[in-house]
Amino acid sequence: MTPYRRDGLEAHPDRDFPDYKSTRLRHPKEPLVVLRDPETELTQPVLGAGPIGPLDDNLTRQHPGEPIGERIIVTGQVRDGNGIPLSDQLLEIWQANAAGRYAQAEDAHPAPLDPNFSGVGRCLTDDRGFYRFTTIKPGPYPWRNHDKAWRPAHIHFSLFGTAFVSRLITQMYFPGDPLFPYDPVMKSVQDDAARRRMVASFDLDATEDQWATGYRWDIVLRGPEKTLFEDESGMQS
């Protein structure tokens, strides 16, 4: 088994982050037990989730009408920590509608539901590791963490990578959101540069004339330590 890289793992948040109140009773207090290069966790899960439907990557076409909101394209490349593009990667995304309301019964935010928007998407990366979703820009929404708590607009992302240890669930944010300084979830990532890596950029190349603005968001998943071959050639064949 090729060991997986451990450098850069400090980019992840601490599980104990008191400003985000729900972490209080949900983080282990005992030390984690170190497990090095375990075969099971270094295996790549093969997902039994079935084929991706033709409309799964277009969240604006899943209902008879158009959802309300700012139509956007979100695209980017998925690579591992060695810079190798990851093809055939399953991405699952979910998000609130333009008014900041999730299509889930428990969401009690008194903002309108949109009958034309479910807010769930799936796709596979192409042979160069690129994904692309068409959706609408989600609205910010309130939560009960503290007084006047509002989450900055975000899209939830789930990816698997090349091993169980590469698993990532995260959130993509939009550039220039004024709520960033007040959001403990985002601030749980304490390194500035790491926090910026969760923010997409406006992308003119991904923007479509008379149709949708484009955002670029690249994702990097934990990868194996480099093999000798890759070190020598500096390239992936």
Partner: protein, 170 residues
């Protein structure tokens, strides 16, 4: 090709229930004879009704990626904090390893998911020599061993506090 910095993790939040579950997601093996059930508890002993459990395992002979076998399953603990998988008992992955399931716990309030494992109570001999179990302090080892039930195994996960489940830095 150059070194790339990792995208940080964030919680899956409270509202994933309309998105991440899929049909038969908790059936790792259809008509499998092993039923793994359990509950997730927080540090106050309350059920965690918004966690998501994911399992990766080899087939009955210890093989990953065998023909027709994917070995991955997912189960939300919504709405009450319980999960249930249908599968088969895995074989040992390598000589000297005890059979186990690799388990990931995601939850609202968990900014970075947790890795744990479930071992089997009827594998006393293999468990006694398993390197991973032996790296766990003896008094905590029991938190990784599923409890036999009438039709399977019960594996409760305690995120914090008394009998806190052993989680791995992997």
């Amino acid at each position: 090709m150059s070194v790339q910095r990792l995208t940080p993790s964030q919680t899956l939040g409270p509202f994933y229930g309309f998105a991440l579950p899929y049909e038969d997601d908790s059936i790792i093996v259809r008509d499998g004879d092993l039923h793994v059930t359990g509950s997730v508890y927080d540090g106050a002993g309350q059920l965690v009704p918004d966690a998501l459990i994911e399992i990766l395992q080899p087939d009955g002979r210890g093989r990953f990626h065998a023909e027709g076998f994917h070995g991955f399953g997912r189960c939300s603990t919504r709405p009450e904090g319980h999960f249930a998988f249908t599968t088969v008992k895995p074989g040992p992955v390598a000589e000297g390893e005890a059979p186990h399931l690799a388990v990931i716990v995601h939850a609202r309030g968990l900014l970075l998911h947790l890795h744990t494992r479930m071992y089997f109570a009827d594998e006393t001999e293999a468990n006694a020599t398993d390197l991973v179990l032996n790296a766990v302090p003896e008094q905590r080892r029991h938190t990784l061993i599923g409890e036999a039930t009438e039709d399977g195994v019960r594996f409760d996960i305690r995120l914090q506090g008394e009998n806190e489940t052993v989680f791995f830095d992997v």
